[in-house]
């Protein structure tokens, strides 16, 4: 299959996964809601297509796309969102903490800006052990005003670590527009730390792949980190609670206008129709199976609610004497 078709498969899988997950939020199968990635699929697809199987990512609260694009099993991912024992994290993480370390996914992280320093440390540790690993660390535009994130840029540049910082600038930190929260420029922050930075079209998976491939090559050559600001737009809610709360921070017209550049459509136009239809069919079958699997899977045993709290054998006291 061509790169174009592979990228189409990924953006389409993420889109349909999210739409089905939203249905499952509405029907109550998924508790606590999700942060939909709809509109931003091309970024996860393009970045992860530039990575090898042994490379790593760290993700965000809006992480489903990253986790799927890096190669986690969508079936076990959906089971995780449904809080089932068969989920990627055994139902212990859910939407905001989905992880699959065997696929190089060091976890989605619910604190904005928190994973950049974790990514840097992981990159350092692998490099020290002589393992060739590039780490792509995803964040949103909100993260660029978080202190620890800026500290992490400095530390990563100082040590020339093989990290790609992928900033998904979707225009909003929850409800706050980027121009109302961010003085100066996003790429200027990276450049201040000596990190080459590029602003790219985050709606075009192939443009993202091309820029990511350059960044990966830099990292593997020992030239240190790269910062990619990917311009995108969040088509759906910040979080599914918006469906009931209905906060007004943008107009329907603005959202409708953004859909004119749908990253899934953009990539679909590059793939022959027959191939595209085949991919679409396979994805629907896969997601049908994922939903069946999630709903049929057992819920975790409450007796194990604190399983995995410690890697050692420690068990703390219970809540009653």
């Amino acid at each position: 299959m061509t790169d174009s078709a592979e990228l189409y498969r990924t953006v389409r899988l993420i889109r349909r996964f999210e739409q089905r997950a939203i249905e499952m939020v509405r029907s109550g199968v998924i508790q606590g809601g999700i942060h939909p990635y709809i509109g931003e699929e091309a970024i996860a697809a393009g970045v992860c297509a530039a990575l090898g199987a042994d490379d790593l990512i760290t993700s965000t609260h809006r992480g489903h796309g990253h986790v799927l694009a890096k190669g986690a099993d969508p079936v076990r991912m959906l089971a995780e969102l449904a809080g089932r024992q068969t989920g990627l994290n055994g139902g212990r993480g859910g939407s905001m903490h989905a992880a699959d370390v065997s696929s190089g996914i060091y976890g989605a992280n619910a604190i904005v800006g928190a994973s950049a320093a974790i990514a840097a440390g992981a990159a350092w540790s692998h490099q020290r052990a002589g393992r060739d690993r590039v780490v792509a660390s995803f964040c949103g535009d909100g993260a660029v005003n978080q202190g620890v994130f800026l500290e992490a840029l400095n530390l990563t540049s100082l040590r020339r670590l093989p990290v790609i910082f992928v900033c998904e600038n979707n225009g909003f930190a929850t409800s706050m527009r980027v121009q109302d929260t961010t003085a100066g420029s996003i790429t200027g922050r990276a450049e201040a730390f000596g990190i080459p930075a590029e602003t790219i079209d985050g709606m075009d998976a192939e443009a993202v792949l091309a820029a990511s491939a350059r960044a990966v090559a830099r990292a593997r050559a020992g030239d240190g980190p790269t910062f990619l600001e990917c311009l995108t737009y969040r088509f759906d809610a910040h979080h599914t609670w918006e469906y009931s709360v209905r906060p007004r921070y943008r107009t329907d017209e603005e959202v409708a206008a953004a859909w004119a550049r749908d990253p899934v459509d953009i990539q679909a136009a590059r793939v022959p129709e027959a191939v595209r239809l085949q991919i679409d069919t396979e994805i629907e079958e896969l997601l049908d199976e994922a939903r069946r699997f999630a709903e049929a899977s057992p819920e975790p045993d409450p007796a194990g609610a604190l399983d995995f709290l410690y890697a050692s054998s420690l068990r703390g006291r219970g809540g009653t004497a």
């Binding site: 760290t58 989920g87 990627l88 994290n89 055994g90 139902g91 212990r92 993480g93 903490h97 992880a99 699959d100 370390v101 065997s102 060091y106 976890g107 992280n109 604190i111 928190a114 950049a116 320093a117 974790i118 990514a119 840097a120 440390g121 992981a122 990159a123 350092w124 540790s125 692998h126 020290r128 052990a129 202190g147 620890v148 500290e151 992490a152 400095n154 530390l155 100082l158 604190l306 399983d307 995995f308 709290l309 410690y310 890697a311 050692s312 420690l314 703390g316 004497a321």
Partner: protein, 323 residues
């Protein structure tokens, strides 16, 4: 036998573990020149790839350690100031501690947070004199507070070898201590095992960290009238509840001396657990810092807020007489 200082014990433990396990590395500020006398010689011996002087970015390098640990390293972070643990609480309590559970056991985070010279050093004022070990015990970080050089060595070794995050407090009131030690006999001390420093039959005093020395001194002073047993828990979380229950089975009377602020300090937890689950024949007492204490600068004011021997003696006498 040669004298071993507390700081030298920490240094020997670091060097021994770095020698034994190439995954062990040390991060911190000014550790190349060993500004705290804990990392002396490590840079020269193990090189800059394992002894990393960090920029003043405590939050970033604390999470850097988390990422490194997930990827197979065993970092030790040396902090210079206990208040930095407030700054990095997110990275320790909310990131490092939570990763194993949140990932369903896919990762372990073997990081050691080493805080030599915790608590008051007298004259370092409000932002350099905290002793927040109870905070870490509360969130479930393995928390050790060695009182002696031998325990400082043995507990730091165990902390580094442990597969979970562990925080090690070296109280300022203990780090100047020296001990006659057979260096060849230095050994790991298991986490979660307390030690009776002085046997007694009338009252059990649980003393945390440097306060062990105060408890031993008061026990000496009272020896003619009250037989005091001094229990050093060494690890605050997980606490050696069996060890404490054994002591209370003999004495039935309990006093705790704890350098925490009073509300939600470990002293309160020890009293509560003893009251719920152990043999007590008299109401217990605790001696702590006051509620919400911020240590003022002037020596008299700083000392006024720390637990004292006089307070401990009075508490022991009250508990000993109480029916």
């Amino acid at each position: 036998m040669p004298l071993l200082s507390y700081l030298r014990a920490l240094n020997r433990a670091l060097a021994a573990e770095m020698e034994r396990d190439p995954a062990v590395c040390v991060f911190g500020e000014d550790i190349g020149i060993a500004v705290s006398n804990v990392t002396t010689g490590l840079l020269k011996r193990f090189g800059p790839e394992r002894v990393l002087d960090m920029p003043i970015s405590e939050q970033a390098f604390t999470s850097f350690a988390t990422g490194a640990a997930i990827a197979g390293s065993r970092p030790v972070i040396e902090f210079q100031i206990p208040a930095l643990l407030f700054l990095t609480f997110e990275q320790i309590a909310n990131q490092a501690h939570k990763f194993p559970l949140m990932t369903g056991g896919q990762v372990k985070v073997p990081v050691t947070y080493l805080m030599p010279s915790s608590g008051s050093r007298v004259g370092w004022a409000g932002q350099h004199s905290d002793h927040p070990y109870s905070l870490f015990a509360h969130v479930g970080i393995k928390t050790v507070v060695p009182a002696t050089p031998t325990d400082a060595y043995g507990l730091l070794v165990s902390a580094i070898r442990d597969d979970d995050p562990v925080i090690v407090f070296g109280p300022a009131g203990a780090v100047a201590r020296r001990e006659d030690v057979d260096f060849g006999a230095l050994a790991p001390v298991p986490l979660g095992v307390g030690r009776i420093r002085r046997p007694g039959t009338d009252v059990t005093v649980v003393a945390v960290g440097h306060l062990v020395y105060d408890a031993l001194a008061v026990a000496d002073e009272l020896a003619d009238t009250i037989s005091v047993e001094v229990f050093d828990p060494r690890t605050l979380y997980p606490f050696d509840w069996n060890g404490l229950a054994g002591s209370l089975a003999r004495t039935g009377r309990l006093v705790v001396i704890d350098d925490s602020n009073r509300t939600c300090g470990i002293g309160g937890e020890i009293l509560a657990t003893a009251a719920e689950e152990m043999r007590l024949i008299a109401p217990p007492k605790r001696v702590t810092r006051p509620d919400g204490a911020v240590l003022p600068f002037a020596r008299e004011l700083d000392l006024a807020l720390q637990p004292t021997r006089d307070q401990l003696r009075a508490a022991i006498e009250t508990v000993a007489k109480s029916q």
